[in-house]
């Protein structure tokens, strides 16, 4: 049995909100399959699983915010020894619920004492020792714990309680079918199954519904497994269904607990960026380099390519710049990787983080995996796809956490140069400004040429200026031979 835990999706993430399960218990999952949608302060991310097996149990309900590392689901992995039964489960699985119930601990002990006192009148053989306080959790074998727990009104074992808690089932409302009215795992599962079915809704659809006041319960989903997609919500927003729900906005059915209003979202995004960038600026001794790159050959090649291509296959200057940045990172591997625990670890492959500004403000820098190996048309397609998904909340976990070096291209915003702050734990950030026509000396003559200012912010702990200079020189050289990119 493997645990699928809340992943760390970037150095700035401490906790995440599980928004949606993309699989259910019993579903087969493969390593790399997206299985859940998690919302962080910065974005909504599809999280892939790292095991191949069967989803045996979902431990966390959508809408729940949990710290990084919290088990979210159990995956039955074939060809591994089966786990021992209940008592042998991993410590934190059983420790969690106990922690959550701590506040009512004393009351519970009292009740337990009373209950113990009652049967004692019947069973005189038992030692008349007063009940001891609950022992230290870590050392308690489960059976003993069960005895203590018997004090509460409804009888249920700790694992069943754990399950009930996580599924949001109130044990007091259940009639136990086990011996002595004990609530069993099946009772809880049946209670969960008896609830109205959970809607399958894509994150974008959820957001749109919240913004437009559409009641998701009234929307017919056209996606996979009848999942409600953004288009369905838009359709509903224009249809008659909108008239009724406006009064319902704010009720739990309209806005799932995981969905924060966009104002909070913007503030959370700012906080996440503030935290990470402060840390980067405090911990990383940056050095900065800059150079002007002649783009005449690259732009000529680009225009020629675009003239010959259907509109859908056109390239942007950004594609050439990103490819050059990725190839240069392969040439200068000292800048491609991460700085952790006082040493540099080279990245396995060049996964180029691309800073994408979001429409509501803020930014994310998801990775183009193996950008150095992508031909320009593929890189362009991947870039379009990545940016679209970054803005609609459909990034993958690996894209958010895998970048080995990041590029920020502020040319679109009209500026000529950008000196960025490195994303920890990466060790370099490449900046490109706008491609502008400037007077240049070429072969002893003054001419007007398109140029771009290419910059590098690098971590002085990992490299020295000479390495950074080699990197920018490589970028310059690569952009002079666009046909080889």
């Amino acid at each position: 049995m493997a645990e699928f835990t809340m992943p760390s999706l970037g150095a700035d993430m401490d906790e995440g909100t599980l928004l949606e399960w993309l699989v259910g218990p019993g579903d087969l999952v493969h390593r790399g399959d997206p299985v859940a949608v998690v919302e962080t302060a910065k974005s909504t991310i599809e999280v892939e699983c790292f095991e191949t097996g069967t989803m045996t149990e979902l431990l966390v309900e959508p809408g729940t915010t949990v710290p990084v590392g919290t088990p979210l689901a159990l995956i039955g992995v074939p060809a591994k020894k089966p786990e021992p039964p209940e008592g042998g489960e991993k410590p934190h699985t059983t420790r969690e619920p106990r922690k959550a119930r701590q506040p009512e601990g004393p009351g519970e002990t009292e009740r337990a004492a009373k209950r113990r006192a009652a049967p004692r009148t019947q069973r005189k053989g038992e030692p008349a020792k007063p009940p001891s306080p609950p022992p230290e959790p870590a050392t308690v074998p489960v059976p003993v714990l069960t005895t203590v727990r018997q004090g509460v009104h409804t009888e249920a074992g700790p694992l069943v309680r754990h399950l009930a808690e996580q599924r949001g089932v109130d044990l007091e409302t259940l009639h136990g079918s086990g011996p002595g009215g004990r609530v069993t795992r099946t009772d809880v599962e049946e209670a969960v199954a008896a609830r109205p079915p959970r809607l399958r809704v894509t994150p974008l659809a959820r957001r749109l519904a919240a913004e437009t006041g559409v009641d998701l319960a009234t929307v017919k989903g056209t996606g996979k497994d009848s999942a409600i997609r953004a288009a369905d919500v838009r359709r509903a927003a224009h249809g008659p269904a909108t008239e009724i729900p406006s009064a319902k906005i704010g009720t739990p059915t309209v806005r799932p607990s995981g969905e924060r209003p966009s104002v909070d979202r913007g503030a959370a995004m700012r906080q996440a960026i503030a935290g990470l960038m402060s840390r980067a600026n405090r911990d990383i001794p940056h050095y900065y380099l800059s150079t002007t790159v002649d783009m005449a050959a690259a732009m000529d090649w680009l225009h020629e390519h675009n003239r010959r291509s259907p509109v859908g296959e056109r390239l942007l200057p950004a594609a050439l710049l990103l490819k050059a940045a990725a190839l240069a990172a392969r040439d200068v591997p000292e800048l491609n990787g991460s700085w952790t625990d006082d040493h540099f670890t080279a990245g396995e492959g060049v996964h180029l983080g691309v800073a994408v500004s979001l429409r509501g403000g803020g930014l994310v820098a998801p990775a183009l995996h193996h950008a150095d190996t992508l031909a320009l048309p593929q890189l362009m397609t991947a870039l379009k796809d990545l940016v679209t998904r970054a803005r609609t909340g459909r990034l993958r976990g690996s894209e958010v956490s895998d970048a080995t070096i990041t590029v920020t291209n502020l040319g679109d915003q009209g500026v000529e140069a950008v000196f960025g702050v490195i994303y920890p734990p990466q060790v370099a950030l490449v900046g490109f400004g706008r491609v502008v026509d400037r007077p240049c000396a070429v072969a002893g003559l003054l001419g007007v040429r398109p140029v771009v200012t290419s910059t590098l912010s690098a971590d002085h702990r990992a490299t020295d200026g000479a390495v950074g200079a080699r990197y920018l020189t490589a970028v310059t050289r690569l952009l002079q031979n666009p046909e080889q990119l």
Binding site: N306, V311, G312, R314, D412
Partner: protein, 83 residues
Amino acid sequence: MNINRTDALEMVRESISRVIPDADFAALGPGDAFRDVLEMDSLDFLSFVEVLSERSGVRIEDEDTPRLTTLSGSADFLVARSG
């Protein structure tokens, strides 16, 4: 195919809407630089050119893009090219 100016303007608006679904045209004048107003980046703009090209049947080259700065200018461009 000839495109009249009203249709051209509508095509431009529709194409922008495809790229920026929540674009607010009420706040966008015919002479405003829509890329700036709507904060379209180069990828958005490329998508816009793709959609507009597809809808109007007019092939739009890189060199033509300076003419696609305002709603009005874009509509004029389509009318001129379709004739």
